[in-house]
Assembly symmetry: D2
Homo-oligomer: 271 residues x 4
């Protein structure tokens, strides 16, 4: 067994305890300061993942390989990010996997994009649209850091004007006006393809649902997910006092062919 | 655009409404009976996904390509299955993706195995252990149906005896006594690798957490996920009356190297 | 200590286990049949509460004095009843207590009315409006059974026409169109009095909230309450699998005086 | 209609908006400072409840009569208080009402005591035990402020030594070791009387439940209540982002007579 070693410019997760983890880039010659003393990053180079490193004050941090959830949660944010719990369900309900072609809008700072890219790699692709340039730049940086930029095509576009792609496996919407984009999503999707929309308000859910039903989608459903942490300690186990009460609703559906399409389309194909 | 067509022996999802969907194998010459009339399966062959088919009573069903969640939910069950919401979080917290090597125990009838295989394909592999033969057979059937059997190695073994694999990316536990398997999971995992355990009772969570902390795991956390459906209709939107109140707790952690290992192990590697 | 004894025509709760309790009236000469054998009701007369009674098959049931929650849950129902968890919060947010004068609309079959009467007795009064006669009759029966009818005045009225009462401490709304009744509730309430509205749909909540804000109410808030049962057994403790995902939202507010009222009203009082 | 007027030394709730309410005592000659300017308390005297008062900066606050929930939430705290949502359910499951005699342990700073006193007044009584003197003093102050001290008897006692009262309607436990107090609660309760225990940890619930089952209680159940606020605004309605994930579990049960008691007790009574 050869343990994977930390290399220069790698990202590592330094773990002190459950509440204190830090993701840093291992830049040669630099120093990382914590409230428990500093760590010379050169000392990290060559360490095996899973080993510990001591700060100047003798406190041990464990050196871990960052996971998808770390890249998502530790991303540089300029906007509300999609939480891993929501990203997990969005990915699951979308049905995507390795090799899938996915359209996403909007990119934001790329937390959800990171998850999508992670699951479609290596043969798949995420086409992610965003109008706000500073968000797109942040997303690019975050995706690069996670090593997933090559699986994403970042596009600058007001998506109410439509998507370039056709026959994609899934369209993921995380924007203020999903109902305006539903007809374009229909055009971009393959038949039986999935759409998933994530929205914080109920009114967005209602409008998106109506648009989906009107535009030939079936299996239209909406769920919300409440995740609660547990404090686990023998004799003192209990749910955590604070929790996120709401992030957003997840609405998902599948594209059915409209009657005109079904006839016309098939006729054309038969011809 | 060439629509994907239904072929003989394909599995399709027939959709009537949100509460009534049926997954069937398109066997030539057979008939599928519903309370809305019957469908001759020969009529499905050559249909494009997304098209509708009419029953003998003239009721239209939409023909959809099954998704991962369909294969999970419509699996033949001999035991409580892992719900998609839980599978989604297990996959997310495990950090796995295409190419990952994953050990799972127990297989059960393979709902979670199906999800794991879906996300590690095509280059990855799931090594799934199960002692009860009739479960393993059901799992094999379910995985074959989902087209994912080639990404899974089904193993008959009492896992309290240990795993064969080493240096895997993740170990997923869904069994009654996770704490007994934690030392074996540690052996099987690569450093910084993840373990995720799914358990219905709090006592299982406490024992698993203690075992994880004792055996050199860090980032030990437990969450539970409550998913609630919404009935969406303009003017009448509301959460659904019934929901699943509990399926299980998800406990996850990462493997750190123990001090002896760190020194010894590295010495050995250097030698 | 003199134990309270079961008398003829009393209501008692017969307890077999947590899932099987029965509320019956102790009618002399009658027999109560259970799947565990029958009980001659004459045998109950003179029993102390807390004692057990044996069925013809020798199975013991404990004889309990019914509580408010029993009268609510075991009421004869012709409509969806208000659950104790919701009634508890409605009562709490209304601020009512012994001696309070409360207007309720609609009565339904009286589950919430029973709770309100229980908490305002003996000096207070519930004025409860209902247009559907068969509901009112059911409510009367349920209130009588609970021994609370004397604290309730049941009124037949379409409340969109207004309430008769003035200067009441609280108005409780459990009807389809709460926003239409808000102006009447304002008229009926004392200044600083409370209104609580219970509604299953979000649209009802939005309309009620808007009406409250427009009509001089302050402290307008809405909550929902999810209650989950636990299965408690050493080594196997866990939340229950099934739970009620939604009953309704609770919107509550307090009456502020409008500017015209404040001046006019006070001038008049000073004169 | 005569509006109730604010008098000297009354407590009033000053309302600016949903998030900013202040409970103050109207002491003549004093000034209340807010971030929106100050209010001379003399100006409040003689105001009708429901009217507004202007600060020195011209900002209007509505003058409201405090409710039970205000006295609970605005109490001076030296410890975690019982939230209104939990107090509401505790009261509901206890079955108490006006005239009930209730034993409580421990008093803490009296938030739950305040609720109990509110619901048993005027003929009932709360016997509330607390060993820590500074908590008892805080509770006394809070109860006095709420006008409910006369319905409470505050007792200094380690309740693992037992209660003085007999034949009470309900025993309410909010302490670290409820299982040690269960036998004493049994002695204090009338047959068919109720016990309600509130505990943050699962282990407390398990131990309390076992003690209840062993000591002759029936109908033993445990629930937890998740309350979530809604942000209500047309077109933007959504659940609130933050919520309390956990306060405590509520375990409740009823006293059955033990066999020896039933025979012996009844014989004695017949004699």
């Amino acid at each position: 067994m050869t343990n994977k070693k930390v290399g220069e410019d790698d990202y590592v997760l330094l773990y002190l305890d459950v509440r204190r983890t830090y993701m840093i880039e291992v830049e040669a010659g630099k120093t990382f300061h914590t409230h428990k003393g500093y760590i010379k990053l050169d000392e990290l180079i060559g360490k095996a993942f899973g080993e510990t490193v001591k700060t100047s004050l003798g406190v041990e941090f464990t050196v871990l390989e960052p996971l998808l959830t770390d890249y998502m949660m530790k991303s540089s944010r300029k906007t509300q990010i999609t939480y891993p719990k929501d990203a997990a369900l969005i990915v699951m309900f979308s049905g995507i996997g390795s090799g899938s072609r996915v359209v996403e809008s909007g990119t934001g700072t790329g937390a959800l994009t990171t998850a999508l890219a992670h699951y479609v790699k290596p043969a798949g692709k995420v086409y992610s649209y965003e109008v706000r340039e500073e968000f797109q730049r942040a997303a690019e940086k975050n995706l690069k850091r996670a090593g997933l930029l090559e699986f994403v095509e970042l596009k600058s576009r007001d998506v109410t004007m439509g998507f370039d792609e056709r026959d994609v496996d899934a369209v993921i919407l995380d924007l203020a006006v999903p109902w305006l984009v539903v007809p374009h999503a229909y055009e971009a999707l393959k038949p039986s393809g999935t759409i998933v929309s994530f929205s914080p308000t109920i009114d967005q859910v209602v409008k998106a649902t109506e648009a989906l039903r009107e535009h030939g989608f079936v299996c239209v459903e909406t769920v919300e997910c409440l995740m609660r942490g547990m404090q686990v300690e023998r004799g003192k186990t209990r749910p955590q006092t604070l929790m996120t009460g709401h992030s957003g609703y997840i609405t998902y559906a599948r594209k059915a062919l409209k009657h005109s399409q079904k006839t016309g389309g098939n006729e054309a194909e038969k011809a």
